[in-house]
């Protein structure tokens, strides 16, 4: 048996898909990195990312299937689900036959599971549009830390670039060492690890205190319902919420 291993980038994934067709060889898995535990009967083949090959696959999806499917694929890729790679391949394989009707075939597992991944990612994106919290640091930078299930920093950035257009901000995915950085004109994604402790501006603590006070006074004591609260706002996100700490 055979696994393809690409470098974790979207172009890497598209290159791997190109190689499947070029080599006429369908692997068991398309992995974003080598599996941790060596597998006895599985051979791993490294795929070298090639922008031209990736570009061809990208164009083909956009032209022969639809831009909607392309978006689903990108979102499914960002889910970082272990099997996302090979699922994307099977979804595309069906897509070459069905063209822009691909996304109508909801009852087909190959379509359904990609939609499910894509849905999860856009759901988490939407959640974090609300749950992200900025803190004002020395040097007038608004800094937000998050640890999302999926790799969504790039999906959040455009929203905040349009909204907090007059602020310098950093949105930092602590678990992936990634950040989107905005300088009041444009944003870019970059590798990022925090070296120092956060130095909050004095006024920051004041507004955090106000917000906590406000948050606590909003609950109606005769309606307390922690289960509903957790269902709407899963506990794994609480760590970076000013009002929950």
């Amino acid at each position: 048996m055979l696994d393809f291993v690409y470098d974790g980038s979207f172009n890497g994934l598209l290159t791997a898909i190109y190689e499947i067709y070029y080599r006429r060889q369908v692997p068991q898995q398309l992995l974003s990195r080598s599996s941790q535990t060596p597998k006895l009967f599985v051979r791993e083949e490294r795929i070298i990312t090639d922008e031209t090959k990736a570009g061809k696959v990208y164009e083909a999806i956009d032209n022969k299937i639809s831009s909607r499917s392309l978006r689903h694929i990108y979102y499914a890729y960002l889910s970082e689900h272990m099997e996302a790679g090979i699922w994307i391949y099977h979804y595309l394989h069906l897509g070459w036959k069905l063209g822009n009707k691909l996304d109508l075939l909801l009852s087909d597992e190959r379509v359904h599971r990609i939609h499910r991944l894509s849905q999860k990612v856009s759901m988490e994106r939407h959640r974090l549009l609300g749950l992200l919290r900025f803190q004002l640091l020395r040097g007038n930078i608004y800094y937000a830390a998050l640890e999302p299930d999926h790799n969504i920093v790039e999906l959040l950035a455009p929203h905040f670039a349009a909204r907090m257009a007059d602020q310098n901000w950093v949105i930092h995915d602590v678990s992936r060492d990634l950040a989107a950085v905005f300088n009041r004109k444009e944003w870019l994604a970059t590798d990022f690890t925090r070296q120092h402790r956060l130095e909050l501006l004095k006024e920051e603590e004041y507004y955090q205190q106000l917000w906590q006070e406000y948050y606590n006074s909003m609950a109606i004591s005769s309606r307390i319902n922690p289960r509903l609260q957790k269902r709407c706002m899963p506990q794994r996100y609480w760590k970076h919420l000013v009002e929950m700490s």
Binding site: H126, A144, Y207, S217, I220, N225, E243
Partner: protein, 433 residues
């Protein structure tokens, strides 16, 4: 500094019984490189311990009220700390909360200070400052004060995204009894005024994209459920009328939270949450499912059942409408099936463009069959585990947890939160019924 903290606590505390928190429906953009825009879908920023979403900074500018409505915490005769925020203080809070992404914007309400005009002017000053001085483009929901001059309401409408006038209680009689200083006509007047101005604003925008926005996210209202003896039917009829006559975006319902003792108020220990929940479910059915109030309730049954959601209840009383054939029924008909919500109905329409669907297909596209199975056929086949007869279906579809199901008659004020079954609980929030 401590001063603001104290004021914030007092004024948030007084505002929390206002239920609307939606930040949806506006299309204000940030064109000038200023601060903020609106997301048309609305965004929730956090959830309080009672499970309600916080989207906007919901606060009163002042709780110093001249009225004495008996159901309200802020009534003048209530002994309670009073505070008023200045427009500048409110702007500072809004802007700084917004910059940290705590909120989508501001929901500003207030008690009546001195006179309606004085009060409306105070609100106007605040929202004008936010837009003009702070270049703020986030969402603003503002209360229109009944009895205030139309000119003031119109001026405010140019700065805000949504406006609302609370009708407070479902009947004029209730209003006379519990809020004698508020007049029904005085409440309807600004609603009417807003309706016609919103329509006029829209017409202007159609002619020119540059025409100024006027309350682009529309008008809403709110009423209290369970403070008067009005039955659900009357409440639902009122809402139906509001949607038709005033083109309201939403009617919000809040279960009466016992805040005082008064001979005209029901003596209850907890708010009637299940009743509120049923009315919300029915409200979705009015707005998105093509139901009419008359179909859901009538004079013989003027209140919703505790043990069935309104849609299932309707289905059980109208079994001759079923089964619905999944492969042929149109959208409206699909929506009538208990367990098939707006999302599911759309998915079915999409999937059946490719091929006709059987039960396995339905499961695979993510339709929950638990309730639906009793009311549908796929390719002519019925797969419910029992014949489609009312007495067989009723026990299988009840929403009451087994230990509370019993012959006990539901009474108007007996509902409490712990009887809402888990599978039932989310439907009034998501609207998928």
């Amino acid at each position: 500094m401590m001063e603001i903290l104290k004021k914030l606590k007092i004024l948030a505390d007084s505002a929390k019984y206002d239920v609307s928190c939606s930040s949806s429906g506006s299309k204000r953009t940030n064109q000038t490189g200023g601060l903020g825009n609106s997301a048309s879908s609305g965004i929730c920023h956090t959830w309080t311990a009672d499970g309600r979403c916080i989207s906007l900074l919901k606060i009163l500018q002042s709780n110093n009220c001249v009225y004495n409505c008996s159901y309200c915490v802020n009534r003048v005769s209530n002994d309670l700390p009073r505070a008023t925020l200045t427009p500048d203080e409110l702007c500072d809070l809004t802007i700084n909360f917004y910059r940290r992404n705590y909120i989508e914007g501001l929901f500003l309400s207030t008690a009546i200070c001195k006179t309606p005009d004085h009060t409306m002017e105070m609100l106007l000053q605040t929202v004008k400052k936010l837009r003009k001085e702070h270049n703020f483009h986030g969402y603003i929901h503002l209360k229109a004060i009944p009895g205030a001059d139309n000119l003031l309401i119109e001026a405010a409408g140019k700065y805000v995204d949504r406006m609302s006038v609370n009708i407070e209680l479902p009947s004029e009689r209730g209003l006379r009894l519990l809020a004698p200083q508020k007049k029904h006509e005085a409440i309807i007047k600004p609603m009417n005024f807003l309706t016609s101005n919103i329509a006029a604003g829209k017409a202007e925008r159609r002619k020119s994209r540059k025409a100024p926005l006027f309350v682009p996210a529309g008008q809403t209202t709110q009423l209290i459920v369970g403070a008067t003896s009005d039955p659900d039917l009357q409440i639902l009829k009122l809402s139906e009328n509001m949607y038709k006559r005033f083109g309201l975006k939403r009617v919000y319902y809040s279960a009466y939270v016992p805040v005082s003792h008064h001979p005209h108020l029901p003596d209850i220990s907890s708010p009637p949450l299940l009743r509120e929940h049923r009315i919300y479910q029915a409200d979705w059915l009015l707005r998105f499912y093509g139901f009419k109030a008359d179909e859901l309730l009538d004079d013989k049954n003027p209140n919703f059942a505790e043990d069935y959601d309104p849609k299932t209840d309707w289905a059980l009383r109208n079994l001759d409408y079923f089964p619905v054939e999944i492969n042929r029924a149109d959208y409206e008909k699909l929506l009538r099936v208990p367990g098939i919500g707006v999302k599911s109905a759309r998915k079915i329409l999409t999937a059946r463009r490719m091929h006709s669907l059987d039960f396995e297909d339905l499961k695979r596209i993510g339709i929950t069959m638990k309730r639906a199975q009793y009311f549908i056929t796929c390719k002519g086949k019925y797969s419910g585990p029992t014949a489609m007869e009312e007495h067989l279906l009723r026990p299988r579809l009840t929403l009451l947890p087994p230990h509370t199901a019993g012959p006990e008659q539901p009474s108007l004020f007996s509902f409490s939160s712990d009887v809402i079954a888990p599978e039932d609980a989310f439907t009034s929030v998501s609207g998928e019924i």
